[in-house]
């Protein structure tokens, strides 16, 4: 087991190297130029920047040479810094990338975690009822409702919820994370957070239930039609025990492993939802960085997600070994 994990971790290093290479080259090929944008802004202010200064700025940011060798050099200098656990300094914010990530990750993580918990709590029972009452009115009703959820785009549905719940009914604040006009502390501050995060979380939960519910339903149906469920019934077990013990324990295998695969999405932030509700989450920041060509931040953010993905896949495999006795990890 220990050997298996070690082997996987060593492999992960190579995977991450490959990922970093691809991301870095792609970013350098992107048609955004942080320096040019900055100079344009200065020019608009009326001042002029000399050619020399511009070139010096390109050199300073390490973007001077756009040939293949130049990009390669840039990549290795980034990699060299990474070896000393330095993700570099964000162009836009002027502070270390790691600080930017950790500053904005909390809010995204809180939203994603709460949304995921509710997603599982709602989708799994729905999927099980739909499967155990296949082709009944209940099954069709649940399926149609979650299908509507899957089909709605988040920018539209989020906007709609905001319009109804916040603007028309006024039950919740429309955007932002805290009430700027009041200065709450302690429990009041927490309640204020909850009020602000309610609609974004509701949006994410409704949109994501569908896939999880369909997955549970399909798995459950497959399990319910299997021979060992017939055996369990033939033994004289009550339908409740058959479903909740024998069938659910088997449905749990893909569900638990998919949970581990969710790890990166907990930290990546919901870009569109954060935009709609103007939340200072990591998704919002990442989109902004992308538009402005903040290379160190994009690299840092994506490598962070890549690392989480690799760990998530490893965790999923380890989970298999725990929940499915047929799987032996060697």
């Amino acid at each position: 087991m220990f050997k298996y994990i070690l082997k996987r971790l060593v492999m992960s290093v190579f995977i991450l190297l490959g990922v970093s290479m691809i991301i870095y080259f792609l970013i350098r090929l992107m048609p955004v130029d942080f320096i040019q944008d900055k100079i344009n802004a200065i020019n608009q202010g009326g001042a002029t920047v000399s050619e020399e200064t511009v070139n010096a700025m390109y050199e300073m940011y390490g973007l001077g040479d756009n040939s293949f060798l130049g990009i390669l050099k840039g990549y290795f200098s980034w990699l060299g810094a990474l070896a000393t656990f330095d993700l570099g300094t964000s162009f836009v914010y002027g502070i270390p990338v790691a600080d930017v990530i950790f500053e904005h990750m909390g809010i995204s993580f809180a939203i994603a975690l709460i949304a995921t918990v509710f997603e599982f709590l709602i989708a799994i029972p729905l999927g099980i009822t739909a499967a155990t009452h296949q082709y009944s009115f209940r099954d069709y009703l649940v399926t149609v409702l979650v299908m509507i959820g899957i089909s709605l785009p988040s920018f539209f549905f989020g906007q709609m919820l905001k319009d109804v719940l916040a603007l028309k009914l006024g039950w919740f604040p429309a955007s932002g994370l805290v009430n700027a006009t009041a200065s709450f502390t302690g429990i009041e501050l927490l309640l204020d957070y909850v009020r602000h995060m309610f609609i974004p979380i509701l949006t994410i939960v409704i949109l994501s239930i569908g896939a999880r519910m369909r997955m549970t339903r399909t798995n459950m149906l497959e399990v319910m039609n299997s021979d060992y469920i017939r055996t369990a019934r033939a033994k004289g077990l009550s339908e409740k025990v058959v479903i909740n013990k024998h069938a659910f324990r088997n449905t749990l295998i893909p569900l638990v492993t998919s949970l581990a695969g969710l790890l990166p999405s907990l930290f990546s932030g919901a870009i569109i939802t954060e935009q709609v509700f103007d939340l200072p989450g990591i998704g919002n920041i990442a989109l902004d960085a992308m538009n402005r060509g903040d290379i160190p931040f994009i690299m840092g953010y994506n490598m962070f997600l890549a690392l989480l993905s690799v760990i998530g896949v490893l965790l999923a495999d380890l989970m298999y070994g725990i929940v499915d006795p047929r799987v032996k990890l060697e």
Binding site: Y135, N225, S226, D227, Y228, R230, T231, A232, R233, A234, K235, G236, L237, S238, E239, H246, R249, N250, I253, V323, D324, P325, R326
Partner: protein
């Protein structure tokens, strides 16, 4: 099933769906109703029997139409006897056994009509006769796994892969004796594993199903069936998935057990050799109906229905001169919209004019031997 021959128009499909929905709704409501015990208590026709199946009709309501998988099957299982049910694939053998266990997949599979009378023995020793076909599903635990146990065809997939053998065996003890302690349940499970001839029962007790071979798993299935001291064991092709040497062991085991538990066995198989060896009585089924039934001697030494004769001819023997195996020409008719004449007519070499007439009645040839064939009508009249 007859995809190319019988195209259905949209109108017909809708008409079928509407009709099916109506019947299924009624039958499902009946299945899930709450009922007083008196509603399904009945009397045995013959107190020597443990199970009497009487004009059982089990239908599947499919999109193409109603499949009459079991279409008026009647036979008895006497106490302490082994009854073999023979027939080719799709003749309704397994559906009959599923009907007895009430394990049909709803809402499509339903017992449409008929009676399944079962002589149950309560813990108090009192005997009660239940009509299983009329029992609501919530009361089925009175007999399922308790009075009647079942052994399935596929030992490889019939055990839950995520629980150990011990967990799955103990469960049976707990169902029937909820007050049992963990140690008592384990003791009983190990005893059952010993009974079915498993070496190292302690080790098997802690194993997962995937760690055992097919033969071992089938033994575990049998021990599971035995753990509840059933009065009737239904073995649905218990040896089909096993290789021949293991087959013989499993059959020996079943025969031994019958004497040990003092119960009856309903043995479903398409292997006439197994029936000849194991059974006291034989029921031959064809396309959802019983076409001949009698004692093992009668069926093997004096088969009367052309289908039974054909079946026996198609059995491979070592000392025959012929290189090719006899086979009955043709196929089983489409189970949707069965004709109202003998279902075997198209494949029968001994057809007479009468065979185009309505489906033949069961004719009694001896006190125990019955056959459903027009060939024997006249003999009946002459006597």
């Amino acid at each position: 099933m007859a995809k190319n021959k019988n195209y259905l128009s949209g109108k017909e499909i809708r008409a079928i769906a509407k009709e099916n929905a109506k019947v299924m709704k009624r039958l499902e409501a009946e299945k899930y109703r709450k009922a007083d015990e008196s509603e399904y208590l009945t009397e045995m026709r013959d107190s020597k029997n443990i199970l009497e199946i009487d004009k059982l009709h089990t239908y599947f309501f499919t999109e193409q139409g109603v499949v009459k998988a079991v279409n008026g099957v009647s036979f008895d299982i006497p106490k302490n006897a082994t009854v073999g049910v023979a027939g080719e694939s799709g003749c309704g053998k397994s559906v009959t056994s599923m009907s007895v266990m009430r394990l049909l997949q709803g809402p499509t599979g339903q017992i449409y009509s008929g009676e399944i009378r079962f002589n149950a023995k309560e813990k108090s020793g009192e005997e009660k006769v239940y009509d299983i076909a009329k029992m609501p599903i919530r009361d089925i635990h009175k007999i399922r796994g308790n009075q009647i146990a079942m052994i399935f065809q596929e030992p490889m997939t019939s055990l839950n892969p995520v629980f150990t053998i011990g967990q799955q065996l103990d469960e049976v003890t707990f169902i029937h004796n909820p007050d049992a302690s963990k140690e008592q349940a384990k003791e009983k499970s190990i005893e059952m594993l010993n009974l079915v001839g498993i070496a190292m029962p302690e080790r098997v007790y802690n194993s997962f199903p995937h760690e055992l071979s097919g033969g071992m798993r089938q033994r575990v299935m049998i021990s599971m069936a035995l753990a509840s001291d059933p009065r009737l064991i239904i073995a649905d092709e218990p040896t089909t998935a096993l290789d021949v040497t293991i087959q013989a062991q499993i059959l020996d085991l079943l025969r031994d057990l019958k004497t040990k538990i003092d119960g009856s066995i309903m043995l479903i198989t398409h292997d006439l050799g197994i029936i000849a060896e194991m059974a006291d009585y034989v029921v031959v089924m064809y396309a959802g109906r019983v076409i001949e039934k009698g004692t093992v001697d009668e069926i093997f030494h004096n088969p009367m229905h052309p289908y039974t004769i054909g079946l026996q001819k198609s059995k491979p023997t070592l000392n025959s001169d012929s290189d090719t195996l006899f086979n009955i020409p043709g196929n089983v008719p489409n189970p949707i919209n069965m004709p109202d004449y003998c279902y075997f007519k198209e494949r029968c070499a001994q057809c007479t004019k009468k065979c185009s007439g309505e489906y033949p009645e069961m004719i009694q040839v001896s006190p125990t031997h019955f056959v459903a064939c027009h060939l024997y009508d006249e003999g009946q009249n002459d006597d």
